[in-house]
């Protein structure tokens, strides 16, 4: 995988003295979906702002597809599309005009066919001649995405794309993100909905108080930090938890009817299978098995919470 975005030792201190970013290093591969998680004020929007040219870095270096954002800013910015968090649009412009404007602004020759494809993909084609002010909030957000895609960017930044968006639109949006990825577009998103990151992202970065705390492949992260909690309902009361069962530490509930154990790290499924097998050979009958996997959210809260 080639690196499409490289961030090195990036620092940002605002004029009021607030330190938003502290020596952030990050490298994004071409074609991946990267989710940046962090609590409010962690530095997510500042980081995106610097890469996109809205915020000036205090120090550090950012290259987009090999182009330094400070020196070769034209080439760097042409590669990027940005969907901002706020719904800032020209209320009086029509949808089509807004996309046409964006494409021109980013230095691309007019291409009505491309704009039509985008609008159709976003279910906005029948609204193309309507004034943006007349659209619903969800529609406006689609327009912003359309504007960001109008110049055929290779990297798309989505800053909280699903904040305040209804379930259906959110699903549509992720559908579109998947399609874009298939077309080779690299996607970097911030979100508050951690399940979405869990569902969509190839890699996860967690940022807090201006520091990138971890960057890891999602599956590896879940494996390393995730855990499974298993409860087994028994048909007959046990007086004590059975010992030496596949090495897992079993807890018995006070009523003696439920066994439970928590498995961290390694492959949880194999451990569970082994345990059940042993229960059967030991002649302990059970009526239910329930396993709960910790979500990215638990991991995230655990990670960030530890610093508080």
């Amino acid at each position: 995988m080639t690196t499409i975005l490289a961030i090195e030792r990036l620092n940002k201190t605002y004029d009021n003295g607030f330190v938003a970013l502290k020596g952030v290093d990050l490298s994004i591969s071409s074609g991946e979906i990267f989710a940046l998680l962090g609590p409010n004020g962690a530095g997510k929007t500042t980081l995106i702002g610097i890469v996109c040219g809205l915020v000036r870095a205090s120090s550090g270096k950012v290259t987009v597809d090999g182009n330094d954002i400070a020196i070769d800013y034209r080439k760097a910015r042409q590669t990027i599309g940005l969907v901002p968090q706020e719904l800032s649009t020209n209320q009086f412009e029509t949808v089509m005009d807004a996309l046409r404007f964006s494409r021109g602004l980013f230095g691309k020759a007019p291409d009505p066919g491309h704009l039509e494809r985008i609008l159709r993909d976003l279910s906005l084609w029948d609204k193309k001649d309507e004034r943006i002010g007349a659209l619903s909030g969800g529609m406006k957000r689609r327009v912003l995405i359309g504007k960001a895609l109008a110049h055929e960017p290779r990297i798309l930044f989505l800053d909280e794309p699903t904040a305040g968006v209804d379930v259906e639109l959110r699903r549509d949006m992720w559908e579109m993100v998947r399609r874009l990825r298939e077309q080779g577009v690299t996607i970097i998103l911030t979100t508050h909905y951690i399940e979405e990151a869990e569902d969509m992202a190839d890699r996860i970065g967690v940022i807090d108080q201006g520091e990138l705390m971890l960057v890891e492949e999602k599956r590896a992260l879940m494996r390393r930090l995730g855990q499974v909690h298993v409860t087994i309902g028994l048909t007959q009361k046990l007086d004590a938890p059975p010992e030496n069962l596949s090495g897992a530490k079993l807890d018995l509930s006070p009523d003696g009817m439920t066994l439970s154990f928590t498995q961290k790290g390694q492959d949880c499924d194999a451990a569970l299978a082994a345990l059940l097998k042993t229960l059967v050979t030991e002649g302990i009958e059970f009526r239910s098995v329930n396993s709960e996997r910790s979500s990215l959210e638990d991991i995230f809260i655990d990670l960030v919470g530890r610093r508080r």
Binding site: C52, G53, L54, K75, S88, T89, F101, F106, K147
Partner: protein
């Protein structure tokens, strides 16, 4: 040079003019027509000619500039302030455009509108009073130069302003009074000694005198001084805008 970007900004800005056609064009034309009815036809007929030019014709260049100056400033300032206010500026800041291209788009559109307005007002005036323009090409060039300069000034104003009030205050409280006192309705030679000296500190005086020279070939000041002053202001405003984009003042945090 990102020509597509210049065109996109220019088209979008002029689009704003068409959307607000009445406010943009009709109202300045209407107010100017009222000036001609009052000062040109009604009062003008009782005034004696100045340097061989009838009073009605004498006020034409000043009246054109009265509208052109305020409209150039307010259009360009509004054009850049609005996206700052609504947050749309993010797109401009993230786009592969240089300061020159952004200015060409915004200032070009504001100046274009002013020039069109100037021409419409000139044609409207012709309906009320007869006059011949001695140097029509120079007059047009001078109109373009002045429009561009004040649009540039308005652009700076729009970047500096942090509220709609500040946006209104300069055209209303500074440009408009200075134009009124800048010899729109009189020749500064008609002022008593001290006031004539005071008037010479008003930069608008030079613009009106220069523009009137292009119209009728009469001026109490050397036309070249007017031209030099306008160019000087254009250069100064350009330098300020380039500085703004270099430092990111009020644009990038």
């Amino acid at each position: 040079m990102n020509v597509y970007a210049i065109r996109a900004i220019y088209t979008a800005e002029l689009g704003r003019t068409w959307r607000t056609l009445f406010q943009s064009i009709a109202s300045p034309v209407l107010s100017t027509a009222l000036y001609f009815v009052v000062f040109g036809s009604a009062i003008g007929s009782r005034m004696q000619a100045i340097d061989g030019v009838s009073y009605g014709a004498f006020i034409v260049p000043g009246l054109i500039l009265l509208t052109v100056l305020t409209e150039s400033v307010s259009n360009a300032s509004f054009g850049i302030y609005l996206p700052r206010f609504t947050g749309q500026i993010y797109e401009l800041l993230s786009a592969p455009v240089s300061a020159v291209e952004v200015i060409a788009g915004f200032v070009g559109a504001a100046a274009t509108k002013s020039v069109i307005l100037g021409l419409i007002i000139c044609a409207t005036a012709r309906l009320f009073v007869p006059f011949e323009i001695v140097h029509p090409v120079l007059a047009l060039l001078y109109l373009v130069l002045i429009s561009a300069t004040f649009a540039l000034f308005g652009f700076i104003l729009g970047l500096w302003a942090d509220g709609f009030e500040k946006l209104q205050i300069i055209p209303l409280m500074v440009i408009s009074p200075l134009t009124f006192l800048g010899g729109t309705f009189y020749s500064i030679d008609m002022l008593p000694g001290v006031w004539r000296q005071v008037a010479l500190f008003n930069p608008i005086v030079y613009l009106i005198e220069g523009f009137r020279w292009a119209f009728y070939g009469i001026s109490t000041l050397a036309p070249l001084i007017s031209l030099a002053l306008t160019f000087g202001m254009l250069v100064l405003c350009s330098a300020v805008v380039v500085w703004i984009f270099k430092t990111g003042y009020r644009l990038r945090t």
